[in-house]
């Protein structure tokens, strides 16, 4: 009984101490600093990229504060609609219903700004002899019609499927472009974050998973064929930039009109500059092709 109360006392005093520290940390932030802070929220795929952009931008512009958080593309766009973020990062285009909500709430159109390109890699365990799949095979695997690796030229092992949670832009993109809107098989395991998918695939020779190329370390990324007649294309920088790799997509910033915060406006202009685009490559994604970059930057300047 004695020991019992001692432990509970230690536990409660620890909790009290931690909460005091947390509270003081929250309240010590100066209000002027908070007013200037730009919040960027959304796609988990883009978190690393967004943070890197913010980091470099803040180094160059002392005094500017940009906070980047993840949560998923849907979360970011929901935050934009609710007015709790300045910029939503999204790895999928905004839905018409979401754009309407922004228009209805703020009376301004949402502005879509492509900021980078991303290829979706399909991963298997390093030891898996399968090195290429067609989009049709991929669809059959993820809808549960093909259940054994030997049906696609691998060993006689069941296929274990990994996917992202359904709040991720990656999930929606894969569902629309690879599954052509068919339902995922019920046996698909969903994990929070691409890192978790990679971790699971790296530990299971029977596994298959998908996610952004930037995370692809320690596993094998498959070459993808658009159809049976086309060549198998590896998810490399050139192949994504030229559009030859079949599972690639644009990554976007969304804003409610042109943001009133000058730091946010300047940040987006900078992201579209050659300097900002150089960071995209550094992080492992693909910069917008030069022509496209000019066009997007011009469009951004022309917005009211």
């Amino acid at each position: 009984m004695n020991a019992d109360s001692r432990w509970s006392r230690i536990a409660s005093s620890t909790i009290a101490a931690v909460s005091i520290v947390v509270m003081s940390a929250c309240s010590s932030r100066a209000p002027s600093e908070r007013a200037r802070a730009v919040t960027v929220k959304g796609s988990d795929t883009m978190v690393i990229l967004g943070q890197r952009w913010a980091e470099i931008y803040m180094q160059k512009h002392p005094g500017a504060v940009i906070q980047v958080t993840g949560g998923g593309s849907g979360t970011g766009i929901a935050a934009l609609i609710n007015g709790t973020t300045d910029i939503a990062q999204s790895s999928r285009p905004i839905k018409p219903s979401e754009a309407e909500q922004v228009k209805a709430k703020f009376g301004v159109d949402v502005i879509e700004t492509p900021v980078a390109l991303d290829g979706l890699a399909v991963y298997v365990h390093e030891s898996n002899p399968v090195s290429e799949l067609s989009l049709a095979q991929l669809k059959a695997i993820y809808t549960g019609r093909l259940r054994n690796w030997k049906e696609v030229g691998g060993p006689d092992l069941p296929i274990v499927l990994y996917s992202r949670e359904n709040n991720s832009g990656t999930y929606v993109y894969f569902k629309e472009h690879v599954l052509e809107n068919a339902d995922f098989a019920p046996a698909v395991q969903t994990l929070p974050g691409t890192a978790a998918v990679i971790n699971a695939v790296a530990k299971d020779p029977k596994a298959i998973g998908y996610g952004g190329i930037a995370y692809g370390v320690g596993i094998k990324a498959l070459k993808i064929k658009k159809d049976d007649a086309s060549p198998a294309i590896a998810p490399t920088l050139e192949n994504v930039a030229t559009g030859r790799y079949p599972i690639s997509r644009e990554l976007y910033f969304y804003t409610v009109g042109k943001p009133s915060n000058p730091v946010a406006r300047d940040f987006i202009r900078w992201v579209l500059s050659p300097e900002g685009q150089a960071i995209v490559t550094e992080v492992g994604y693909y910069p917008l092709p030069e022509e496209k970059r000019h066009e997007v930057a011009r469009r951004w300047e022309q917005q009211e």
């Binding site: 432990w7 536990a11 849907g74 929901a78 359904n166 995922f184 019920p186 395991q189 969903t190 929070p192």
Partner: protein, 320 residues
């Protein structure tokens, strides 16, 4: 003059006393009001499932429990909320929750009750002083840490050991969950065993019974309702636990009876999907309906557990 000051002092003290009383009463009231408000909020958000015909076209009780067309069990009951035709069957989620809970209780109950029996009946006081806080410290590990451990370490061990087809499954998640249940079951069981009057043990030993016989045939039966209550509380925790299963279960909503399949639980579904869901959509209300369901189940189960404990305590004090 002196008496006047004493009287003033007395009045002042009474005044402080009365106000302290009121403030503390208000503070304790806050807790109750908070629970009631949460209750009202969750049920208000879940209500459209039962009342709004617009929502009901996509999500109603019939969608939750009625089978669809399909060749096998897994395709008749599907949870696919993000789809052209959303499918909201709760059957795979309820089944998944029960499977992990069953595994967790199956592992935690014997271990925790045996440990409680050992520390209360057999252990020398030095060892007891070591085991008891150690087990109770297990309760202090944040569940996200247990979940992370299960995802990275435990799942790999168990995958190698048993050769599961899927690395993350009901057994792995249930095993991790058991770690969270052990302290609850242990603490409540230990209290129940300790509350058994010493006279019962002495009578048993005096009649020539061994310590083992005394523990298993006299003390344990006497404490059985309390031990049962500990299992009930453990059940409530297992059903509501989110982070461990979210990380260690694989979250595939498969309708099957196999414990080696990946599972998706009710609580993990809310955690995974509520962040993204469109405010006011059928999907949103379905998640709140699940929340209300969990609230009712854990509330009922925990109340039952606490009620049993009170009954036992009163009986052992000879009040009933």
């Amino acid at each position: 003059m002196r008496e006047g000051r004493d009287a003033r002092e007395e009045r002042r003290r009474r005044w402080i006393d009365r106000w302290a009383h009121r403030v503390i009463f208000l503070l304790s009231l806050t807790a109750i009001v908070t629970i009631v408000l949460i209750f009202i909020f969750i049920f208000r958000e879940a209500l459209p499932i039962l009342t709004d015909p617009e929502i009901q076209r996509e999500a109603s009780l019939r969608h939750f429990f009625h089978p669809m067309e399909g060749p096998d069990l897994a395709s008749r009951y599907m949870w696919q909320p993000v789809a052209l035709v959303p499918k909201y069957s709760l059957i795979p989620l309820i089944l998944g929750t029960l499977k992990t809970t069953l595994v967790a209780l199956g592992i935690a109950a014997p271990l925790a009750v045996a440990a409680a029996l050992y520390t209360s009946e057999f252990a020398p006081s030095r060892i007891r002083e070591l085991i008891k806080p150690a087990i109770e410290l297990l309760a202090g590990i944040p569940s996200v840490v247990l979940g992370f451990f299960a995802l990275i370490v435990l799942a790999t061990w168990m995958h190698r050991l048993f050769g599961f087809e899927t690395r993350l499954n009901a057994i792995t998640a249930g095993t991790a969950l058991a770690l969270a249940l052990i302290p609850i079951i242990y603490t409540v069981s230990e209290d129940a065993l300790n509350a058994v009057p010493q006279s019962l043990r002495e009578a048993s030993l005096a009649l020539g019974a061994t310590r083992w016989q005394t523990a298993t045939r006299v003390v344990l039966p006497a404490a059985l309702p309390g031990v049962f209550a500990s299992l009930v509380l453990g059940f409530g925790r297992a059903v509501g636990e989110t982070m461990i299963v979210l990380m260690a279960s694989g979250n595939a909503a498969i309708t099957s009876w196999r414990f080696t399949d990946s599972v998706r639980t009710l609580a993990a579904t809310i955690a995974a999907e509520l962040g993204e869901v469109v405010f006011g959509s059928p999907h949103y209300h379905v998640l709140f309906f699940i929340g209300a369901l969990l609230f009712v189940v854990t509330f009922a189960v925990n109340s039952a557990g606490v009620y049993i404990i009170h009954r036992v305590q009163r009986r052992l004090r000879g009040e009933v």
